[in-house]
């Protein structure tokens, strides 16, 4: 499986990565190589095999509905790049058509 430039651009947009021109070109080549290797699994006979998203045997792990102390707003915002009135400030919100 080789991936083309259009796919690289689309995926970069999905992943919110403002890649440079040469990065995109390198990605196209490197991802193609990696996917080529990954394609080994296409040869496997996987009919009737259940997917394993987790090797754990556990089920129904939940917590009781109990309130625990929250962070102080000061601690919550301590790492904020930009804040205003105890809120996280972000630039104008626009939607990405390709997302």
């Amino acid at each position: 499986m080789t991936i083309d430039r259009a796919a690289v651009d689309h995926v970069a947009r999905l992943a919110r990565l403002d890649l440079t021109e040469e990065e995109r070109e390198r990605m196209r080549v490197e991802l193609s190589n990696i996917l080529e290797h990954a394609d080994k699994i296409q040869a496997l006979e996987l009919g009737g095999v259940e997917p394993t998203s987790h090797a754990l045997p556990l089920r129904n792990v939940m917590r009781p509905d109990e309130v625990r102390p929250s962070l102080s707003p000061h601690d919550a915002l301590a790492n904020a790049p930009q804040e205003e009135d105890a809120r996280f400030l972000v630039p104008r919100i626009v939607e990405d058509a390709d997302e």
């Binding site: 009781p64 509905d65 707003p73 205003e84 809120r87 996280f88 972000v90 919100i93 997302e99």
Partner: protein
């Protein structure tokens, strides 16, 4: 809309309802769930999506979701799990929402609704559990996102347990949609799993509306309507949208798939986003949590624990109080109103219809003026019951009772206390009335003579005279009898 259009077109509506659960703590962390409050006072590493933090699901939220699924006649999943829904948005701390995908907790249910359109079943596609986002405040411009300069994020709401209920496109008018939402709201209210306040956003409704020529193969362009902040505005918004689309089609225009914003003030919808979005959420199983396999005992216990649901209650009320559908409909719009009526009816222990009339004919008027709900009024159900009993006993007249009710509404005092204070009493004691009756006869000899002569039509005039003398406090029935006795031929 004109009848010809009704004949030509058919409307299809599917609803997507989000409900915030009223658990004590958030979906995946111990932060408190509540409304409002200072920004970012109810956050922690988990609901801020801080590096290294992990989600652990709230058992109550899972249970509530299964409760909702059961109340909506859904099948409850034997195997269910969380997925990650990946997309970037600044009010979403992890830039993915922990939600459910192909294994929701509930599927394939229905809600039965009835109204002027008759009785119909609206299918429930799925009921799933997810987490709410934070809240953005848009600064600059009109305060709407479109022309704002920047935004501020508060994550108090982030991670609040959120149940998504998706209906089948079984709804065919704005009115059906409105009734469906109000029935759904009533069901959720009876389950005690959410505040279901559309105004505060604890219940949010989005609608997909499409109009097509009757019998046309595929559905028309799907238009998503957002920002309907009350049950009433669901009706208004969809009414308008339905007409807009019908008008457009009649004018030969083609409708585009878009998202439209409902404006409370103008009662119209306006396009929010016409560009077609190719969303790619890259759903995959949430690796930070393990699947659910609810035991039969658990599910069984939940089904048994279901309270009386609105529809069951309406049937019971019809049969217990002998009321007709119209009255019941009015009395069960909210659970609190129905509860209030029932305690009044039980306190009264007589013909409940009388209680209904007092509530609908008089109390509702006062409530509307005051702009409050029945349970918020000063009047206790028992007090209304004793007021009606005073009338039954003839202690006060119906006219007087209305005055007393208004006073009760003002002060919250008991009816007889008010009646005493204001001297609102009906004189029914014959001895006390005899003098006035004799006077009236003496002063109106010829009228009295006519009565003696058997012309009973004139008796009313004499009764009126007595009422005048007693300043309206005499019991007209008793006066009538006295006159008949005294003027018997």
């Amino acid at each position: 809309m004109t009848t010809t259009q009704e004949d030509l077109y058919e409307t299809t509506v599917g609803l997507e309802v989000h409900v915030e659960l009223n658990t004590r703590s958030k979906m995946f962390c111990g932060c408190e769930v509540s409304f409002g409050g200072d920004p970012n006072t109810r956050t922690c590493p988990v609901c801020l999506g801080m590096p290294g933090s992990l989600p652990v699901p709230n058992e109550k939220a899972v249970e509530y979701t299964m409760k909702i699924a059961a109340a909506l006649n859904c099948e409850i999943a034997e195997y269910s799990l969380f997925h990650r829904k990946n997309y970037f948005y600044p009010d979403m701390p992890k830039n993915y929402q922990i939600s459910q995908y192909d294994n929701p907790l509930g599927e394939r249910g229905y809600v039965e609704i009835s109204g002027d359109f008759g009785t119909t079943r609206v299918g429930i596609t799925r009921v799933h559990l997810e987490e709410d986002t934070g809240k953005s405040v848009h600064v600059g411009g009109s305060g709407r996102i479109a022309d704002s300069e920047y935004s501020l994020e508060d994550f108090n709401r982030a991670g609040t347990p959120l149940v998504e209920i998706v209906s089948e496109p079984d709804i065919h008018s704005a009115e059906e949609a409105r009734v469906f939402v109000s029935e759904l709201r009533a069901i959720l209210e009876s389950l005690d799993v959410s505040d279901v306040r559309m105004e505060e956003g604890s219940m949010r409704v989005d609608a997909n509306v499409s109009v097509r020529l009757k019998g046309a193969g595929e559905f028309g362009a799907k238009v998503e309507v957002k920002n309907m902040n009350s049950i009433r505005s669901v009706g208004r918004a969809l009414e308008h949208e339905e007409m807009r689309q019908r008008a457009a089609l009649t004018a030969g225009e083609t409708l585009v798939q878009e998202t439209r914003h409902f404006d409370e003030k103008t009662g119209t919808t306006s396009s929010l986003r016409t560009k077609e979005f190719a969303f790619d959420y890259r759903y995959f199983p949430e690796p930070d949590m393990v699947p659910f396999e609810p035991s039969e005992e658990w599910v069984g216990g939940i089904r048994e624990s279901l309270p009386e649901l609105p529809q069951q209650r309406r049937l019971r009320m019809a049969d217990e109080y002998g009321l007709e559908a119209r009255d019941i409909g009015v009395l069960t719009t909210t659970r609190a109103t129905a509860d209030w009526f029932e305690s009044a009816a039980r306190a009264y222990a007589g013909d409940a219809k009388k209680i209904v009339n007092w509530i609908i004919a008089d109390l509702f008027g006062l409530l509307n003026e005051a702009g409050i709900e029945l349970p918020d009024s000063k009047i206790e159900p028992q007090q209304l019951a004793s007021l009606v009993r005073l009338v039954d006993a003839g202690t006060i007249s119906g006219k007087q009772a209305k005055v007393v009710l208004e006073a009760m509404f003002e002060t919250g005092d008991d009816p007889d206390k008010i009646a005493d204070e204001r001297g609102l009493r009906q004189v029914s004691d014959e001895g006390a009335l005899e003098a006035a009756v004799d006077e009236a006869i003496a002063e109106n000899e010829d009228a009295a003579a006519k009565v003696r002569a058997g012309n009973l039509g004139t008796i009313g005039f004499l009764v009126g005279q007595v009422m005048k003398k007693t300043k309206g406090q005499a019991n007209p029935g008793i006066v009538n009898e006295l006159l008949r006795k005294k003027l018997a031929p």
